[in-house]
Symmetry: C2
Subunit: 210 residues, 2 copies
Amino acid sequence: MNANIAYTPYSRHSGAMARTRIRDIRHEELIHATVTAVHKRGYAAVTMAEIAAEAGASAASINYYFGSKEKLMEATMRRMLTMLKEAQLERYAVAKTPLDRLMAVIDANFSDRLFTLEQCAIWMQFWANAPYVESLSRLHRINRARVTSHFRAELRSLLPDAHREIVREALQSYMDGVWLEAAQANEPLNPAAARAEARRFTRLMLENAA
Amino acid sequence: MNANIAYTPYSRHSGAMARTRIRDIRHEELIHATVTAVHKRGYAAVTMAEIAAEAGASAASINYYFGSKEKLMEATMRRMLTMLKEAQLERYAVAKTPLDRLMAVIDANFSDRLFTLEQCAIWMQFWANAPYVESLSRLHRINRARVTSHFRAELRSLLPDAHREIVREALQSYMDGVWLEAAQANEPLNPAAARAEARRFTRLMLENAA
DNA sequence: ATTTTTTAAATGCTCATTTAAAAAATTTAT
DNA sequence: ATAAATTTTTTAAATGAGCATTTAAAAAAT
C-alpha cells in the first residue's frame, strides 16, 4: 500500500533470493520513459500522464513507485549521474597513463551511450532546475566535485602548478558548453566526432600549457 | 484597448514629439521585473502575478503590454541579446587590432553589466526552453550565428586555417560552459576575474597556433 | 470628449496527487 | 497440490489547488 516502507533486499521466506522483481522493472521503465518524455516536451511542460503513457502505465503508478514528480526527476538524474560515472570507470580500467586517464574522463562525457539528444535534453533541464530544487542542486555539486577531483588528479602529473587550474576549468567549461549547444540541435549527435574534437582541444591545451 | 495595434513612433498632434512615454516605461519595468522574478523562482515556477508584483503592477497589465507570458519571455530575451550585442559594439569601437576585437567579444560576455547571477539565471532558463519554443529557438540561432561570425572574422587574421575552427568552437563552448556553471552559484559573481580567466584561456589557445 | 492605462474579479482549464477499489501475485494453510 | 488469506500492484475517478488569460468597468491621461 505504501511505496516508502523499507524493504530488506531479500525475500522473507527463503535464504538469499532475488529481491522483488517488478519494483525494479517499473523503476527502470519509468525512468526511461521520463528521459524520453522530457526530451519531447521539456520538464516544465511534461505531465505525469504523458510520462506514464510513454511507459504504458498510469500516472498514479508513478506516484506509487516514486512518490512525486520531483522525486521521479531526482531518481532520473541520479541514474544519469551513475551512467556517467560508470562510463568513466570502464575507461579507467583500461587506461595506462595519466594522459589515458585524463582522456577517459573526457571520452566518457561524449560516449556513444551518453552523448545523445535525449540525454543532452535531460541534462539541460537538470541544470535549469538545479538552482531551484535542493535535491537536484545537491546532485549537481556532487557530480561537479567528482569530475573536478579526477581532472585534478590526472593533470597533476601532466602540467606544472602554474597552468593546472586554468586548464582544468577550461576543460570542464568546454565539456559543459558542448553539451549545452548539443541540447539545441535537432539532428542526431555524433559522439565519435565530439570525442575527436574534445581530444584535439585537450591536446592543444596541454601542448601550450606544458 | 488592444496592445497589438501599430503605433507610429511620433505622437499624433504635434510634429516630431516624443513617442508615448508610459508604454516604454512599462516595458522597461516589466522586463526588469521578469529578470528578477525568474531568477528568484525559475521560469517554470514563476507566475504572472509574481512578476507583476515585482514591478508593482497587476498580472493583467502584463498581458495588456505583452500579450502573454510567452511573449513576455521572448521580449525579455530579446533585450538580453541586445544588451550583449551592445556591450560588444562598445568594445569594438575602441579596439585597434584583431586581437583587441577578439577580446572584445569575449570581454563583452563577461562584462560587469551582463555577467550577474540574475542574468546567468535568465540565460539558463532561455537555453532550457529554446528547444521547445520556436520564438526562443530562433533567437538562440540568431545570437549564436552572430557570435560565430565575429569570432571567425577576428580569428582569420590570428590563426592558420588548420586550427581556426577548433579554436573558435572551443572559445564558444568555453564561454557557454562558464555561464552554465555560474548559473549554479549562489554568491555574487566576479566579472573581472571571469574576464581575466577568459583572457588567459584565450591566450593559451592562441599561443601555439599563431 | 476620447483614448490609454489599470485592475479586480471571473473564467475556464490543466494537472499533480489522493482515494478507493479491483486485479494480480504471493504466501500460508489445508 | 489447492484453496484461502494476505500482500503488492494497478488504475479510474475524484479532489482541489494554481494559474494564465479575459472581461468589464473604472481611473488617468490627452
